[in-house]
């Protein structure tokens, strides 16, 4: 009688709550996971300036001097400029469609020099750099659309077309703190 009963019950572990446990763990990891994408403004720094390695001579017209003070006021080649106008002015300077004598000889020669006061907040500096990057991006997009019909970022990475456009409008940006 007793034996028969045991046989019928079987010796199984109840596994129905396993799914619940797994779900609980799953929800924990779902909540704690932060898929953080790192985004930012990419730059390549120039090598340090030493006596053996002086900075190359630059013609005045090829350099756009941008001064930003701690209050966020901007001077572009001694002219007060609103931040909303910076991008258009930069594009004009780099591209120089009318061959103006005071603007860059060619986009390859153009240098954007960004100078800020020592106590400028990082936020203002990045806003400024963002505008410079924006100007270059718009120029590259325009060139890419004219030549290949797509925007610059849609060109496949490490392709010849991409390198060509990047060479057409190289980002030559010099960053310095104003000496007091």
């Amino acid at each position: 009688m007793l034996l028969k009963k045991r046989k019928r019950d079987g010796g199984e572990i109840n596994g129905s709550s396993m799914a619940d446990i797994a779900f609980l763990l799953l929800i924990f990891f779902l909540v704690t996971t932060t898929i953080n994408v790192d985004t930012g403004i990419g730059m390549v720094l120039p090598p340090p300036v030493t006596d053996d390695n002086p900075p190359p001579p630059i013609r005045e017209r090829n350099q756009m001097n941008i001064l930003v003070n701690a209050q966020g006021l901007i001077l572009m080649d001694e002219q007060p400029t609103a931040i909303t106008e910076v991008r258009e002015k930069l594009k004009e300077f780099i591209d120089n469609p009318d061959n103006d004598e005071n603007l860059a000889v060619s986009p390859q020669a153009a240098i954007v020099s960004l100078k800020t006061q020592q106590e400028t907040p990082y936020r203002i500096y990045i806003d400024m750099l963002d505008e410079v990057m924006g100007a270059y991006q718009e120029l590259r997009d325009a060139a890419s659309r004219a030549n290949y019909g797509v925007e610059f970022r849609q060109l496949p990475p490490e392709s010849d077309q991409r390198d060509l456009i990047a060479e057409m409008y190289p980002k030559k940006i010099s960053i310095a703190a104003e000496e007091d």
């Binding site: 799914a19 990419g42 730059m43």
Partner: protein
Amino acid sequence: MAGHFKKKQAGSKQEVPTSAMPDVVFMLLFFFMVTTVLREVTLQVKLDLTQATHIEKIEEKRLVSYIYMGPELLPGRELGEDKVQIDDAIVEDIGSIRNIMYDKLLEEPKMIVSLRVDEDSEFSLLSSVTKELQEAGTYRINYSTKRED
């Protein structure tokens, strides 16, 4: 006849087999366990990133080495002076950054330095850190920002 039909329907149970559910859930669980990256450093400086529009993603995350800059977090929710943090420690001597970064560069020649700077910190600190990076030869940098909406 009608009664016969009814009986048959009631007899055969219409159940979805759930025996594979734990396996499915475990698979999902493992996926999330593997992809989860727990924050490896504890920040000792306040860090509110600024926003920008023309930004790019860093695709190769294993190449990235971080430098944090911002006001030091002091006990009692107070903020100290602007400090530089690399890995888990605050670097007091700015001049030693070049050695730290140079050592890292030897380990990973294609290193990208991600500068995570608090939006209110002053440019002078960033400028001296950038000079150190130039001396160290770590030329690829990235000013970390959030995406502007």
